[in-house]
Symmetry: C2
Subunit: 263 residues, 2 copies
């Protein structure tokens, strides 16, 4: 039972709230009963389960701890309430968390046949939007998300929470725009960009697979250099006073049209 907030492993977990520590270690944290149960469906990726008996009241939670304790390479830590609260990123923590290894893919490991649909994101800033896009990608059967240049971290706690299970099911690629452009040209994926000022409405074109849907950042939309690489650009009709949608909403609206055309 760990009762010191300066325990070495507790300090590591706390540091994982920073992007720097996540990148240095290749680890991230999931919190809560449902998230830990989902992580344990990928036991090879789970490094550690942290449980706080003073906070954890759920039988499902204890069953997850029991399974983790029987797995060969998963470390189980018990902590006091004060220590657990020092590592939790939410209020009212459920008393269970896990440290999980990140998984990144390279464009070269992907294939047109096995990966017919991707979302590429240029400079998306908010982890919550990125996580929500991952969740929608899972729902429409996409392969994953390609993050271009500077982008939010999909392993940020807010992104992990918004993604739900999709943080495990979706492939994540991080690359620079030039490598992406070369790969797209070589592999022949269709690239469709979402852009508020595109004259073509998103329901008025065909989306033959394999394809990639490209979206820009929350503030700026799709930069013209990015748009030049696209085979087509589409916009989403707007009837109100605002001139843009939330980026995760825009992704979902177009992805569901792609799914409707490719059932």
């Amino acid at each position: 039972m760990i009762s010191s907030k300066s325990n070495k492993q507790i300090k590591l977990i706390r540091r994982l709230q920073t992007r720097k520590a996540r990148e240095e270690t290749g680890l991230f944290v999931v919190e809560g009963i449902q998230a830990v149960v989902e992580a344990l469906a990928y036991p090879d990726r789970v490094e550690m389960v942290v449980v706080c008996p003073d906070l954890l009241t759920s039988a499902i939670g204890y069953e997850a701890v029991r399974r983790a304790a029987h797995a060969p390479d998963i470390h189980v830590l018990e902590t006091t309430g004060a220590v657990f609260e020092s590592i939790a990123s939410r209020e009212h923590p459920q008393g269970i968390a896990a440290v999980v290894r990140q998984q990144w893919h390279h464009l070269e490991q992907t294939g047109r046949a096995s990966d017919p649909l991707w979302v590429a994101l240029d400079a998306v800033q908010y982890p919550g939007n990125l996580g929500t896009i991952l969740r929608t990608c899972d729902a429409v059967g996409a392969s994953g998300v390609i993050l271009l240049d500077a982008a939010a971290d999909p392993y940020h706690p807010t992104a992990v929470r918004a993604a739900r299970n999709a943080i495990f099911t979706q492939k994540l690629v991080h690359t620079d725009f030039d490598s992406f452009a070369h790969w797209k040209q070589r592999t022949g994926y269709q690239l469709v960009g979402a852009s508020g000022d595109a004259p073509c409405a998103y329901r008025d074109i065909a989306y033959p697979l394999p394809m990639i849907l490209l979206l820009g950042s929350e503030g700026e939309g799709l930069a013209s250099q990015r748009r030049a690489l696209c085979d087509a650009a589409v916009s989403i009709p707007m009837r109100g006073r605002s001139d843009s949608l939330n980026v995760a909403v825009a992704a979902a609206v177009i992805l569901y049209e792609i799914l409707a055309q490719n059932p």
Copy 2:
């Protein structure tokens, strides 16, 4: 120039971060240049503009302050950096905020002809989701959102931020489920519920206006008592491992099908 964090008006603004104070006063806070400019398009609703010369560097921001100072009933406060940071809900504040009067509508003030499309939300919990739904409602030309029973506060800072301009353009109604049910029966709006287990896919039915799209909470979806009131229930196809979408994403996917059918 206010330099004390315990100034009466500064304390009021800080208290407006709590729901209790927002409900007692009927006020809320918008932060940042864009949000204040949008608020000033409704000058009758703006009570106060707070500016921090040490933080505000934007000419557009100062133009907004100048306009506010010339409006008959808007109070302009200047504060020091430390005082402004004590009222800001985000890091790196832009040095401008406004206190705005909330606006609520009653079901009886609405009409089938002027308000052909509503979203009703049963027990939506997260302000960010509520704000994003408001933003999408504006985009599809809906009239507003009807909040049933316990629900997140649309004037929560996170909801206001996510809603953008839609916090002003969309009508907000808060009512209990029984009143809503009576009003729906009396007015003859079609009520379509979104429910993960509905056998009918959202693209397979017609959406004649006037209608209301009803969505349940993030965790629980649509309760059976709510669903019993619906004229139809629709689900959104899912191809992945997850069994649900983010509620703001689900709302957007169905709203854009409604818009496509009612161009």
